[in-house]
């Protein structure tokens, strides 16, 4: 099946890069020649998509970020760093910190709730696994906007929670739940929970159950088994889930806009207002780019710390 030339190539590649596992080296080599061409043709639509809708727009944002605002909200191109100087003025520090804080708390909460849920479905779901998964994804059939709006109806002073508590006599005056830190973190946690649960499920599901049995046969308690066998083996799911929740949560603006008050402004709101209300696209671009850079560094540190163990 494999032609001689390709075999030779693969041998060469494996030899020249001994650190690389043989399989990868062989795979790479196999891609050469016609298959390489086929692979490229198959990848072309995706590549074009990414270039057109990801790389080029990002370049536009980058170019804009060095410009300035025209008198009527147009973008005047140029090369100036004053937008970046404004971004890194102490003005936004509290808001950036708050965004990371809210996102971190929401990520931990989704992990705390998502892990048992995913564990239950993966281990004890049995024939109902698909049903449970559909139930998790069901809310996504409704737009995020409407789901967030529902929280307003639930939390407002004459909303569901307060009405029930008041009529049960638990409280006399309605609790102030909406437009608080609580409501924003609640909204983020609720909104992003499935992004945590699904990758966790995926990694727990394919976990080799005989390893758990082995641990218990060898005398480990259930808790010890969980901590030393199950959790480490599901680390890829934890890494994927935390990233999937944390990154969009940091930049979210709909949740703080709808559920937050004047003191819950997040960096996403600041960026949004540069594009919509002050129409300073150049500054907004600089803010976006800086946020991306900060996130990238944070993710690299995180993946290096946690992801290294996972790969090792």
């Amino acid at each position: 099946m494999i032609q001689k030339g390709e075999d030779l190539l693969s041998g060469g590649a494996a030899a020249s890069a001994p650190a690389e596992p043989g399989l990868v080296g062989r795979g790479l080599a196999r891609l050469r020649g016609r298959r390489f061409l086929v692979a490229n043709i198959l990848l072309a639509p995706t590549t074009m998509w990414l270039v057109l809708f990801m790389v080029l727009p990002l370049l536009v944002v980058l170019v804009y970020s060095f410009g300035s605002r025209g008198a009527f909200g147009d973008v005047v191109l140029g090369f100036s760093l004053h937008n970046y100087a404004k971004v890194f003025s102490p003005l936004w520090f509290p808001i950036i910190l708050r965004s990371f804080g809210f996102a971190a708390v929401a990520t931990l909460l989704t992990l705390a709730m998502g892990y048992p849920l995913a564990y239950f479905i993966a281990m004890y779901g049995g024939r109902r696994k698909s049903l449970y998964l559909i139930l998790i994804m069901l809310p996504f059939w409704t737009s995020y906007l409407i789901r967030t709006y529902s929280w307003i109806v639930i939390l407002r002073s004459q909303g569901v929670v307060n009405t029930v508590l008041t009529s049960l006599g638990v409280i006399n005056d309605p609790l102030n739940l909406l437009n608080t830190r609580f409501s924003v973190i609640l909204g983020l946690t609720y909104g992003f929970l499935p992004f945590m649960t699904l990758p966790l499920y995926a990694s727990l599901e394919k976990l080799d159950k005989s390893l758990i049995e082995a641990a218990q046969d060898l005398g480990a308690s259930r808790l010890w088994t969980l901590l030393t066998v199950t959790v480490p083996l599901s680390l890829p799911g934890i890494v994927a889930g935390t990233l999937l929740v944390f990154i969009p949560a940091v930049g979210d603006f709909v949740t703080p806009d709808l559920l937050g008050g004047p003191d819950q402004t997040m960096i996403g709101n600041v960026i949004q207002s540069q594009f919509l209300s002050t129409r300073d696209w150049a500054y907004g671009s600089a803010l976006s780019f800086s946020l991306m850079a900060i996130l990238l560094v944070a993710i690299l540190l995180y993946v290096r710390k946690v992801g290294a163990e996972e790969l090792g």
Partner: protein, 401 residues
């Protein structure tokens, strides 16, 4: 300026007798769409975000053959009506029979599309040939669009009914002599309040700084509108470019922040209606909508003065059917047509000749048709060009405070 699309609110709010206004849903839906699109991974799961936008832009739209239908190259020279007119207006901002009657009388097919914010409109126009013949930007947006070279001059010879306008709408500061804009409807930005929860209400911006009502006060999100409130309270010109005054207004707004429930340009309607917000800085039409749902809500124009806004019909630079657009504007300025729109949407008509045809209920409402004395104290927000950045910078400090 600022009204709401009902769609979403209908899901949550009691009844909807009033066939009013535009804005919120689309904005939010658009925002959700942005959010979804912006964070790539979410795209697959975001569900309706993007879709909803298109469903509620709805109305009766069949845009398409906008460009090619122009018969002659220079529409200004041909006096003949085109077969087609493309009208881009705020949602729920027209009477039901306004367009059908025009179509019947002039044999012109009108394509009617809706938007929900000045920003949407501007973005559409800036992205190139929109194909629209008439758009309806708010006052300051007219200045912005003129600054960006997006509008063309109107031939008033084709609009004799312009004489029907109140004098103040013939001499607007943003377009004296109606060279580029013909007013559609107008209103004010004042205070919506709950008569039961705020028994000591007096028509003053001071109410918005009353610590008794902490947590039940809302302010709009529009930067210039917020600063106008502080400047009115200080007794200053709301279009000042004096950094010291803007700074003082900024301090005042920072001081106010701890009393606020939040800044909102749309949800306050529901909040007023459900007794959650008791004092809301808001657009007249929005507050009337809340009044329609909760009779304890009232609207007041504060004594210190308030912002007046007017949405006006304009012709984009590349409009394919300019003459037809002018004929349509003239039709809108007929007394009966203008009054019918006001009767339907509950905003004041800029058409003086229409006044006697506007229903008593609307005409006698001082919130819609303020007295001559109150009218004296209404001021336009002017586009300040580069000086806008003074307000933007001050606002950022309020936001970050």
């Amino acid at each position: 300026m600022a009204k709401i699309d009902k769609d979403l609110r209908l899901l949550f709010v009691q009844e909807a007798e009033r066939p009013l206004t535009r804005r919120m849903f689309l904005r939010r839906a658009g925002a959700a769409g942005l959010l979804v699109a912006g964070s790539g991974w979410l795209a697959a799961c975001g569900g309706g975000g993007g879709d909803t936008t298109s469903t509620s832009t709805g109305g009766s739209s069949t845009t398409g053959g906008a460009g090619p239908t122009t018969t002659a190259a220079g529409p200004t020279t041909t006096r003949a009506l085109d077969k087609q007119l493309n009208f881009y207006n705020w949602s729920d901002y027209i009477a039901e029979d306004t367009i059908p009657n025009f179509e019947k009388e002039f044999g012109v097919k009108v394509t009617y599309d809706n938007y929900s914010s000045n920003d949407t409109l501007l973005a559409k126009l800036q992205s190139g040939a929109s194909g629209y013949d008439i758009i309806v930007p708010s006052d300051y947006m007219v200045t912005t669009m003129l600054g960006l070279g997006l509008l063309q001059q109107i031939d008033l010879a084709n609009i004799p009914n312009v004489k029907n306008l109140y004098p103040r709408f013939r001499e607007e500061p943003f377009d004296p002599g109606n060279k580029y804009s013909i007013p559609w409807q107008w209103g004010t930005t004042g205070i919506g309040y709950n008569t039961e929860k705020v028994p000591d209400f007096k028509p003053s911006w001071d109410m918005m700084w009353d610590a008794k009502y902490k947590g039940h006060i809302t302010m709009l999100t529009e930067i210039r509108d917020i600063f106008a409130v502080a400047l009115f309270r200080m007794g200053e010109d709301i279009n000042t470019t004096d950094p010291a005054k803007i700074d003082k207004a900024k301090q005042m707004l920072i001081e106010q922040k701890s009393l606020l429930k939040h800044y909102t340009s749309d949800t306050y309607i529901d909040e007023l209606a459900s007794n959650d917000s008791w004092l809301s800085h808001g657009y007249s039409g929005d507050v009337f909508q809340a009044i329609g749902e909760n009779d304890k809500v009232a609207y007041a124009i504060p004594d210190e003065g308030a912002v007046i806004w007017v949405d006006s019909m304009c012709v984009p630079k590349d409009a394919p059917h300019k003459y037809t657009a002018e004929v349509f504007m003239d039709y809108i300025l007929r007394p009966d047509v203008g009054a019918a729109i006001s009767n339907y949407v509950s905003y004041a008509s800029p058409n003086q000749a229409a006044e006697s045809l506007v229903s008593q209920e609307i005409r006698n409402d001082p919130g819609i048709y303020p007295s001559a004395e109150v009218s004296q104290r209404l001021q336009y927000i002017k586009e300040l060009g580069d000086a806008t950045q003074l307000y933007n910078a001050a606002y950022e400090e309020v936001k970050a405070a």
